[in-house]
Symmetry: C2
Subunit: 305 residues, 2 copies
């Protein structure tokens, strides 16, 4: 990431950062912003609130469909190239090249939401796109996944040409993020504590993930698990015929909180039945029991159907 201090602006979480960048792009004349489908549906509301038309673009196994993006006439795109949320897909090398070409040709702006760059388990780190085109890509990072969402600390690394406007938009949003957290976080970073914390948590999260995978292979052998090389959740695809909503309801009865992929689908195109299982906060001894309950919920939902 090309991140000299003059390009960095601290925001009150990524959500605020997205809103501020949208307002900044509107001030520059942008009309349409593409976003990945599936993705967080609140993002669509935030984009629309800022006065941009949100344009959902399909994500397949290689990441966002850059060919669709190029046809969409969007002025900007927000995407999660390193670990797509919620599918867990990584944007392929070919797509990366195509995306950069599109950004240059159409003079568009990308927001690279690198929300869980810090949690990678079995593969080499995926480089940020921003370093390849820092004047066309906004890099967005956050402490919400690495430390705590309650901190409300995130950052944007901006193209230089947008800095003045983004500063003004941040000032109009809340006149700056609370200072105490910023000083504390700076101190935490400087003393190397964040790195130590990440190394510790990577080991812990990887152990939880491995237990989850073992339990899923045992309890739900018909499932295909995606997106597990990084992040804090697994994307569990079930054979055709399963009903995500029924599984969610049955899981809730068993005090299991899981998310159906449908919560993230922005258009009407249905995909294979898929549930999302977060594992970061589940203590190791509870993971096997939890997955057994998930399997029971899947079974119960099937009987109901």
């Amino acid at each position: 990431v090309v991140a000299d201090p003059g390009r960095v602006i601290v925001t009150s979480g990524f959500t605020q950062g997205l809103g501020i960048v949208c307002h900044t792009l509107v001030a520059g004349g942008a009309k349409r912003m593409a976003l990945e489908d599936p993705w967080d549906p609140d993002a669509r509301l935030i984009i629309a609130r800022a006065g941009l038309e949100p344009v959902p673009i399909e994500v397949d196994e290689d990441g966002i469909r850059v060919d669709e993006l190029a046809r969409s006439n969007a002025d900007a795109v927000i995407l999660t190239p390193a670990h797509q949320h919620p599918t867990g897909v990584v944007l392929s090398g070919e797509r990366r090249t195509a995306l950069l070409a599109w950004l240059r040709e159409s003079e568009a702006i990308a927001i690279e939401d690198d929300y869980d760059a810090e949690y990678r388990y079995d593969r080499a780190a995926v480089g940020a796109l921003q370093g390849l085109e820092p004047e066309r890509i906004v890099y967005a990072g956050t402490a919400s996944k690495t430390l705590a969402p309650a901190l409300r600390l995130a950052w944007l690394v901006m193209p230089r040409a947008l800095m003045d406007t983004v500063r003004q938009e941040k000032s109009l949003a809340d006149r700056g993020t609370a200072r105490i957290e910023q000083y504390a976080f700076a101190d935490f970073l400087t003393r190397g504590e964040l790195d130590r914390h990440l190394r510790r948590m990577r080991v812990s999260y990887r152990a939880r993930r491995d237990l989850l995978l073992e339990a899923l292979a045992r309890e739900l052998p018909e499932a295909t698990v995606h997106g597990i090389a990084a992040g804090l959740h697994a994307t569990v695809e079930l054979p055709p015929g399963h009903d995500e909503r029924a599984i969610e309801a049955e899981a809730r009865r068993r005090r299991i909180d899981l998310e159906p992929m449908s919560d993230y689908r922005l258009s009407d195109t249905a995909g294979p039945p898929t549930i999302l299982l977060g594992y970061a906060q589940i203590p190791e001894p509870s993971i096997g029991v939890g997955v057994r309950e998930v399997a029971a919920a899947v079974e119960a939902a099937r009987r109901v159907a």
Copy 2:
């Protein structure tokens, strides 16, 4: 203030609160929001960003002109009835009655920005309007003036009918204000420390204000001082012919930071030449020296003109 917990929402400063309330009103179909003139010009931008047409309404010696407001066809108004910023005027009893009548008749919403309710020196506390019409008035308070702007802690007390929407707008703005400050502030309040702090600071600010008034009477006898019964600044009106901008420039050369009233005028109507002097952060021994420099700046600006 009618402030049961179900009506309260914490925001990242008043600025964010204003934006969120504007979005909430837009969601309910509002088109135009009136605001006091003079007032903070950023407020006009925030109102417009949310999709409302800002309508400046003149403030005279009795506060906002409610007759103009009633003619404005506004769906809402934001005002500072206890101590208008920056004029220091208090909304008169007659205007209060008229405002409440207008709110009921036109089914409008008022935002009562009670930004320095806590600092009153020589008069009985002015009651908040919100208590008289809690379903038509949003009460806005802040810790920025009483403790520190860097905390970014403010609160809205909402009409019940708007709570669901304002919660959603807050979530889309930043998913909630940082928790650490909220817990610390709650503890500070519960232990009675805020009250002790306010009592201490009232004595200290009143002493500074009195020194400022003495110094102004000595060094700038031609000035009329307004708005000194409350707040953290004095509004200093000069005889016709003075040039606010020239005084500001001459003061800056003398390392004095003052604000010309023109910074706050939203329409082209000029008023008498007026400068704003903040005194809360000036140590007592520096106030006399500072006012001497202000008087020298006024004199120098007159010679230049």
